[in-house]
């Protein structure tokens, strides 16, 4: 483990160079954390869920030409109970937002979220309209943002590789441990209600804070 005792009699953890040297000689040294995260990062099952034109690119990424199966994510699950990753692929209208958040709440931990495309990130071209959510990160903690309108399948694959890298870097203990190994973090996102003109609350304060205005002349 990474936090092994380092008494004077015990040699310190070996360096990455030394480990690579051993690996060349056929000796594999690893840790539970590394092995666990390696396994998790290569079987990220996305939710079979699309919202708009970004979903077409997501579908293209799953087909033979771009082949998301190369990264272990080909098993698109139709049920949120079996999914590890929600790819919010497209415009989230205010009418759809409660359902997206409910899908997120139905997914078991460990779970990750990719906001794909300008609309899912910020509302995109519809940001100042009356019927589109200004970014899914108001309700769901987003791990990876993929800009584009829509992003190409390569961009989605790059986002997935970045997510795998993030999973591999997660320590299993301590304050940076993932949610599923901790009991002090809330797992449920706030599901908004459909109000008379807008969804309420307009954002979940647990995961998102409105940007504050900074005046350069009064900084």
């Amino acid at each position: 483990m990474s936090d092994a005792p380092t008494a004077a009699s015990v040699p310190g953890p070996i360096s990455a160079e030394e480990r690579d040297e051993l690996r060349r000689h056929g000796i594999l040294l690893t840790s539970v954390q590394e092995l666990y995260n390696w396994g998790r990062s290569h079987s990220v099952w996305p939710l079979n869920f699309g919202l708009a034109c970004c979903a077409i690119e997501m579908i293209a990424a799953s087909m033979a030409k771009f082949d998301i199966a190369r990264f272990g994510s080909e098993v698109f699950r139709p049920s949120p109970r079996q999914a590890d990753l929600i790819i919010v692929s497209g415009t989230v209208t205010k009418k759809m937002a409660p359902h997206v958040v409910r899908l997120w709440n139905q997914m078991p931990e460990p779970k990750y979220c990719i906001a794909m495309g300008a609309c899912a990130i910020s509302g995109g071209p519809f940001k100042q309209g009356y019927n589109v959510l200004k970014g899914i990160d108001r309700y769901i903690p987003v791990d990876i943002y993929i800009p584009g309108c829509p992003p190409r399948p390569e961009a989605l694959l790059h986002g997935l590789v970045e997510l795998q890298e993030k999973i591999r870097q997660q320590p299993l203990r301590g304050p940076d441990a993932p949610r599923h190994l901790r009991s002090d973090l809330p797992c449920d996102a706030t599901v908004p209600e459909l109000g008379a003109t807008d969804i309420e609350p307009p954002f979940s304060p647990d995961v998102w804070k409105p940007p504050t205005l900074v005046r350069p002349d009064k900084a």
Binding site: K95, L194, T197, D198, T212
Partner: protein, 220 residues
Amino acid sequence: METPEALRDRLLARFPGASIELVPNGSPSAQVSFRIGPAALREVACFLRDDAELALDQCSNVTGLDVPDREVVETVKESQPGAPGGPPVVTERKQTRLQPGHLEVVYHLYSVARRQGPVILRARTGNRTDAVTLPSLTPVWRSCEFQEREVFDLFGVVFEGHPDLRRILMWDAFVGHPMRKDYVEPDDYEWEPTPHGDVLAKARRHYPSAAAPGAVQPSP
């Protein structure tokens, strides 16, 4: 297909009491339409569908229009007898008149059997507030169902005889009809780097010092 004038005359001969007028179109397409009084709309639609020569069996599009109340300034010329033997004195007077608004529904009809069309029907409501009922054409063409729901949702036209008149795009608890000209959307403007047009007006309202682009930046 017969000319629009011939079709109008045929409709008037078939429905003598109905209000049927030809709406000219000055654009290059010159796609004229028929404005039908709401009382006869359903009968005219049935006739257009069942007529052997027209056979308009498909309603491909239903859309709405909102024409708000507006003040019209008119110049009225008044002539009064001038001096005896001389020309009459003509005085011009400007008067404003309130032209009441209305909602309008437009149907685009085609014939798949005869490969012709479109024939465009229009129908007006009495006003924009309390007399907003029009007969539904869903019993005539089933394809109108969702599109009339959309017109109901976004414009607030109530279709009488519609089998399932509910909102279709906005949620059920939503208040207002967003495509009306006087719809005031919720003021939830958020800073964005390059506002323009209406969004720029909103940006100035929220960030008065943002008159110069780039003057304010929100912190991440």
